[in-house]
């Protein structure tokens, strides 16, 4: 069946071995006029090399301040079916496991009430339902909550949908119950997620170990990363088996064929702290020097394991470049046990938010506020003690804001006494 708009440029994207979104949309377009017009408008963008969407107006569901991104075509004359093309962000289940039952329900709902196009998933982690009209928002929300037991995720100046790596569900290295932390935070902070109350957006992401498979350190205002503070567990027989070529190094990530591991070259010398020794028979790790980078464990998954005294390193402040330039998260709590109901952690979070809400300017991310007011102000507000683990290097400029409380007489001078000692 011929579609409404010819798309010679987009058709080029049906070629090639990688799955084609164009082919997929075309399939939907056969039954969805929205998809037809979307293709048409996209083709126009391909011709003109400019996007054709206007700023989103404020649309949403009643009582929520986020979860919907308004979107309007700037060529409704040509593409009337995408004149409105709003997006809903649906809060994904932690680490994105689904039953086909729930997925099929979601598909039916979305085919009936939207474009039938989705993003699986948005960069923050939500299920993105891409393109519907304003009048459909409330019915969708109703069905979502009632029939699917699902809810909207975050957008705007509020808590954003937390997300996490697969963790203990299928990974032998996880030091955290990443799903439970994510679920618990999401449920505890439903109000913050749905009703804008912050100076700007706020994101939590949780990775079970320092491999950080959810990229928490790069893109979460609060990054929770699993770690341990005891010793790496070693199975010496398995180490020997790697060296002997009986086990595939790095779990096959560098080729699934058996080959002898060159333990000196591939492990010992790559260890950032050089804290390992191999005498041909036994692997020794000076754990007190280890920085838990995961490399040796990654390379010998059957021989090495994280320790048993597990918990999280808490880092804060990551963000994209707007306005002050991109930041990664910085360590503020080197180690914290993470057991439900996560009281200690939540008490930290709330102190952090209070400080941010009190001091943050409009559209100022937490990381930027810390930059502006200083890490000390953050640590004081969250009642944390300074620790060398918070820094890569102590300050190298001499511009120290000494605390007047430490100085006899504080900021005051005895001006008269001074001029008695010194003539002007």
């Amino acid at each position: 069946m011929a579609l409404k708009h010819a798309t010679p440029l987009l058709d080029e994207l049906e070629k090639g071995p990688w799955p084609s979104f164009v082919a997929d949309i075309k399939r939907m377009a056969a039954k969805s006029a929205m998809c037809e017009d979307l293709l048409g408008q996209l083709e126009l963008s391909y011709e003109e090399k400019e996007g054709h969407w206007k700023h989103g107006g404020i649309v949403g569901v009643f009582g929520y301040g986020g979860g919907v991104i308004g979107r309007y075509s700037d060529r409704p004359d040509l593409f009337p079916k995408v004149a409105h093309f709003h997006t809903l962000r649906v809060n994904q289940p932690a680490s994105k496991f689904y039953s086909t039952e729930i997925l099929r329900k979601l598909c039916d709902l979305w085919e009936a009430r939207g474009s039938g196009l989705t993003n699986m998933h948005g960069s923050t982690g939500d299920i993105i339902l891409l393109g519907t009209t304003t009048d459909q928002l409330e019915p969708i929300f109703y069905e979502l909550t009632h029939q699917l037991g699902m809810d909207l995720g975050g957008s705007g100046s509020n808590l954003r949908t937390p997300s996490c790596c697969i963790g203990k569900a299928r990974c032998e290295w996880s030091c955290l119950n990443t799903q439970d932390i994510t679920y618990d935070l999401t449920m505890t902070y439903q109000d913050e997620l749905h009703r804008p109350m912050f100076p700007y957006k706020f994101k939590f992401k949780t990775s079970g170990c320092p491999n950080d498979c959810v990229a928490a350190i790069a893109r979460a205002d609060c990054s929770i990363i699993g770690t341990w503070r005891d010793k790496i567990r070693i199975d010496q027989d398995a180490v020997r088996a790697y060296v002997g070529g009986e086990l595939v190094p790095n779990g096959g990530a560098h080729g699934t064929e058996n080959r002898a591991l060159d333990i000196q070259e591939e492990v010992i010398r790559k260890c950032p702290t050089r804290c390992m020794q191999w005498d041909g028979k036994t692997l020794k790790i000076r754990d007190e020097e280890c920085t838990r980078c995961m490399h040796c464990i990654n390379v010998m998954p059957r021989a090495l394991k994280p320790g048993e005294d597990t918990g999280a390193t808490i880092l804060v402040g990551a963000k994209a470049p707007i306005l002050e330039g991109a930041q990664m998260s910085s360590v503020v709590i080197p180690f914290m046990k993470m057991e439900p109901p996560y009281e200690e952690f939540k008490s930290f979070v709330e102190k952090m938010w209070d400080w941010w809400m009190e001091n943050g300017k409009n559209r100022e991310r937490l990381g930027e506020l810390i930059q502006r007011l200083g890490m000390k102000a953050f640590l004081k507000a969250t009642e944390l003690q300074p620790d060398p683990r918070m820094i890569n290097t102590p300050r190298y400029n001499p511009y120290i804001f000494y605390d007047p409380a430490d100085v006899p007489g504080g900021w005051e001078h005895d001006a008269e006494g001074y001029r008695k000692r010194h003539q002007a």
């Binding site: 994207l13 071995p17 990688w18 799955p19 979104f21 997929d24 949309i25 963008s45 400019e50 996007g51 969407w53 289940p93 680490s95 994105k96 496991f97 689904y98 039953s99 086909t100 997925l103 099929r104 598909c107 979305w110 196009l117 998933h121 960069s123 891409l130 409330e138 019915p139 109703y142 909550t145 009632h146 809810d151 790596c165 203990k168 569900a169 299928r170 990974c171 799903q179 994510t182 679920y183 449920m187 749905h194 320092p210 950080d212 990229a215 790069a218 595939v248 790095n250 096959g252 990530a253 080729g255 591939e266 790559k270 980078c293 995961m294 990654n298 998954p301 994209a320 707007i322 330039g325």
Partner: protein, 366 residues
Amino acid sequence: MPFDPSDLMKDRLTDIGPPKYDRFFPPVIKDNYGKWKYHEILQPGVLVHVSETGAEVYTVRVGACRLVSVDLIRDICDIADKHCGGYVRWTTRNNIEFMVDDKSKLQPLIDDLKSRGNWFPLGGTGACVTNIVHTQGWVHCHTPAIDASGIVKSVMDELFDYFGSHKLPAQVRISLACCLNMCGAVHCSDIAILGVHRKPPFVEHERVQNVCEIPLVIAACPTAAIKPKKVGEYKSVEINNARCMFCGNCYTMCPALPIANQDGDGVALWVGGKVSNSRTAPKFSKLAVPYIPNEPPRWPTVVQTIKKILDTYASDARRYERMAEWIDRIGWERFFEKTGLEFRFEHIDDYRLAMTTWRTTTQFKF
């Protein structure tokens, strides 16, 4: 009870949050939660995880568009129903994972996937180029300088071989963001594709006071390039073009300052970011190519430049060396030499922390 448009509050459910995670765990996952002992990649795209209980889970990872129709999701459900007891998951990089709890179920699953044209390519494991994390582009956002899905498709077509193999020195994570907002978190990727504008916004003086809050617009500019200005009768703003670095932040606040432009917009490429703490600390991506024009539908220059960078890396880096670690070892002077990329003024930082990026040592290679 169905939705009643006349009474929004009737039966209203709010703040119920997402379904609890374990509701959708396949039984083998639920039963072995926290008990996994080790894993192994059996072939590109196929993993086995072995539990302390002796249980095993076989995962088949397949590449996927991130922009998917409900019909495609239904296909996925069909496969999951047929082989996986009705469960499926997505990874943090938008690949799909089908899991079976017995080795005997693995090959039929793989065969099924392979029988469905190019919809479900196996791969994305180990030292590969896995799926490209990306954003909306011309499909949905209002500020993009480039499309997202089309570039991703073009790049993945070219790098397809690297997706389904373990031929690279280490994993290579490619991300795309269609504007400087960087929703794709491209700032820490081995290779980042970024949409950039190169013309300062123009001001539609007649519209500004109607559609924008002028103080917010002024405050939005990181370089203080925007000033209030009266133009005839209109309260409007003026942009000091020389201070503009094309972030688009003012346009986000004010639609009367369009910044998109077919001649100005295009792609910048970045390299050497990473996220994991493995061996070396996480790192930002650094500028490799300041600008490549938009060349829809298949962005050949972008694709070929990425290919060139990747091939150079593949042939020159040592095992386990991420892009960043390779460049650290050989030095930026060699990176530009080996890749044949031009080193330009744009590469030299001139923003806030610029002085921390200059070479304050005589150590370099000729």
